[in-house]
Symmetry: C2
Subunit: 215 residues, 2 copies
């Protein structure tokens, strides 16, 4: 029989997993909206962000209740504190997907992403979805090896991000400054999404092992 | 006579104020390094960031100790939880200043910012320094009116940021795509710095009043 405390921790963990899932789904849809100039899908990502914001508020309430009523210490306390930070990270991931969707909406019916770099964004989108999934799995499983692996997935994102800049800086770039600005911001949004997933992985690693992962 | 708990809260608050001060100082120097292509100053901002990272670790340790040993509830608990979040925000502000310094370093001995937009960045730098100062004052004073006012200062940043984009998107822009990419990222760094200060203000407002400020 699990204690009331552990029951509350289970609820908190489930909410955090759900937040990562929603953030990954938001980035999946935002990428599709971006690449297909799909206005309705962009609007949906923007509207759906409210669910993530609501979960963040729920998690903060759960954390404060846990701290006030259960006075956890040691590992249990670390799980609660790290849960609060992971909620902030997952909300931020969703906000970055929202920013991608807003650029798709702003350029509609045009495509914000020229054909020449659309494959780079398709890949960054796939990596982001994978990172959202990995963050969720790390939180739900509490598996430190799985959590530490998120950093490797982020390396693939950094590599795509550098490639994007090399294409933009190439003298043959013919899409002008306005497109370059959009693409610079978009690239940054995907990169930051990945960074937040890595941070979640690092916190899961720490809360389980008490050590910081090698970076 | 103040209790041991309140003594620990005072130490936590002082550390958070110091973090905001360091973040503001970092952005002041990063802006100067950027506008004057000052490599040594850019290097200093990059090196000095370690102090902020160290304070973040200190604050997390203080928060965990406070929660474990004092089991605060109600307003006291809110102050501790909000302190943890403010430490993350202030560290992020410093990281954004670091990013500005890194762009200055990467372009040295060239100027990353063309003369035509240097006044915009000088202003964004001044507003950022003011925001760092306001975040520090809000944390140290716990004054909700002062805390809520940070949002107004952010409006000035948003206005400069929009102006920057209008200059970049202008057909007369002659500095090419590479400069536009740098300036897009730089603009984003200042804007995010301001957003973090606003969030600190909102949390101070909430921790003191139990209400969220009108946004």
């Amino acid at each position: 029989v699990r204690s009331a405390f552990h029951h509350q921790i289970d609820l908190l963990t489930a909410d955090l997993g759900r937040m990562c899932e929603l953030a990954g789904l938001a980035m999946e849809r935002a990428t599709q909206a971006l690449l297909q100039a799909d206005l309705l899908l962009a609007e949906q990502v923007i509207t759906d962000h409210d669910e993530l914001l609501g979960l963040r508020v729920d998690v903060e309430r759960e954390v404060v209740a846990l701290l006030a009523l259960q006075s956890p210490v040691a590992t249990d306390l670390r799980i609660v504190v790290s849960g609060l930070q992971n909620a902030a990270g997952a909300e931020r991931m969703g906000a970055l997907a929202l920013h991608v969707a807003k650029i798709a909406r702003r350029r509609h019916p045009d495509h914000a992403v020229p054909q020449e770099v659309s494959e780079i964004f398709a890949e960054m989108g796939r990596i982001a979805v994978q990172l959202g999934h990995s963050a969720k799995t790390a939180i739900l499983s509490g598996d430190p090896i799985q959590a530490a692996r998120i950093g490797d997935e982020d390396d693939a994102m950094d590599e795509r991000h550098r490639h994007l800049f090399s294409v933009l800086m190439n003298r043959q770039w013919t899409y002008g400054v306005a497109a370059a600005i959009d693409l610079t911001l978009l690239g940054r949004f995907y990169e930051r999404f990945a960074d937040q997933a890595v941070e979640i992985g690092r916190r899961v690693f720490y809360q389980v092992t008490g050590e910081h992962p090698a970076s």
